[in-house]
Amino acid sequence: MSERTATKEPATDSRAAPTPGGDPGWKERAIGPIGAIILAIIIVVIGELLVLNGILNDIIVPRPTDVFTALIATFSEGFFYRHLWVTTLEVLIGFVVGTVLGFALGAFLGVSKRARAISYPYIVAFQGLPKVVLAPVFITIFGFGIESKIVMAIAISFFPVLINTMAGLTGVDPQARRLMRSLNASDWHIFTKLSLPSSLPLIFAGIKTGLTLALVGAIVGEFVGADSGLGYLLDVYSYQLEIPRVWAITTVLAAMGVVLFLFIEWVDRKVVFWQSQRELSTTM
């Protein structure tokens, strides 16, 4: 009782809202990007020196300057763009269709407990399967053209979206669900106004993984059997022992992956804006 004898407690909350932290300064923020560029320069210089001094054979590992020259040469050749277009198309179509399918199926499984129980063994089996082994199967079915690679990209990218959508929908805070029910919310409203938005952070994590995997799927498909695409080009160059060209195409594929990933990350930050904000306010 003694602690309660004060006649008047402060009427305001004892805990103030978090205030934004101070600006750490441009120097602090510039360390990351500048350091990364310096690191890249160091690696390139070391690579150049190792090959020049004969420590590495340039038939096996090309000089960075040779790779750069090959890259310029590649960009000046018209057929490169045809292959680039084919792979881009395969990745984008595969990714979009895979994401839509993964979301639709994941939402269905997330909502229906019965469907989840029935499909569980198949999900576990498919999760354990290294999806690249499907490439020969799809090429047998869909041929050497773009279709088999699209199917490959779909098959490999839809799964993480499915799993994460399902996990997100089944992991909704039961207390929040109770709140919705006490407000007489319909099942549809519980889905659209609670379950779906609260699953979005997980769904986007799945989509990001799926995007990277779509690129893997398309390239693996092209390796196994194709007549066009960057994976096909990579294959041809390595048979011709055009090693700088192989590295140049690899660089293009890496850049493609980075651009797609940055785009999705940007969309993620716009859609799931509350997630990054929350992280920001707890780290401050």
Partner: protein, 269 residues
Amino acid sequence: MTQPRQGTEVLPSANPAIIGVNGLSKTYQSGSGPIEALADISIEVARGEIVAMLGPSGCGKSTLLEILAGLIPPTSGEVTIDGQNPRPRAEVGLMFQQALLFPWRTVLANVMLPAELSQQSARDWEARANELLGMVGLEGWAEKYHWELSGGMQQRVALARVLLLDPEILLLDEPFGALDEMTRESLDLEMMRIASDADKTVVLVTHNVYEAALMCDRIFVFTPRPGRIAGVVEIDEPRPRSLAFSTTSEFSERVAEVRTLLSGENIDE
């Protein structure tokens, strides 16, 4: 001892019971057999009364609140809310220990949620939502998000949300239990003032004896597992009260009565 000081204001006939519970029991089925959560609960709450369901964790008091809210059915017994079977509806508002604000919604949009779910035009409710935010001391916070708010402020938003559709009955499940002592006290007093002004019926689930004695007209003391009513303590002090009430002898006597009931000495009466 179960009905101390009977007759002063226990269910005067002019104020008929708005909540009636008669012989209610609730048994859960679990893997290791049935678990009896509540046994033979009979309670009447008059219109405009503030009552507490007080007991240790696991005494089933939250279960009782969920039954009153119409979220789960009782195993046996009768429950009436304003003469009807319990079901989720606008006249009954439920508030939880967590604020449960949706992080993708602004403070204002969170407060408007009940109106949105009852298919009402949001525009009609915006003025009331803003008014309520002013009432709970959050004027100017409408467009903020929950991560910009302290725990106490978040719970104030939840309070504004539960008041939006102007429910007659408020079911509060340890609404300020996760907050620090000082914030909880100030919110308790505010809640009591709001409920008294608007003549709301409040059922407060708590394990805090002081909170119950400060806010409520009557305290139903529950026994642990299965929850039964060990006794009822009446607090004969007009509302709204101030913290000064907690220094009076009336307050400490009632707290002592509740403590005696909680310790189980009078159960076999």
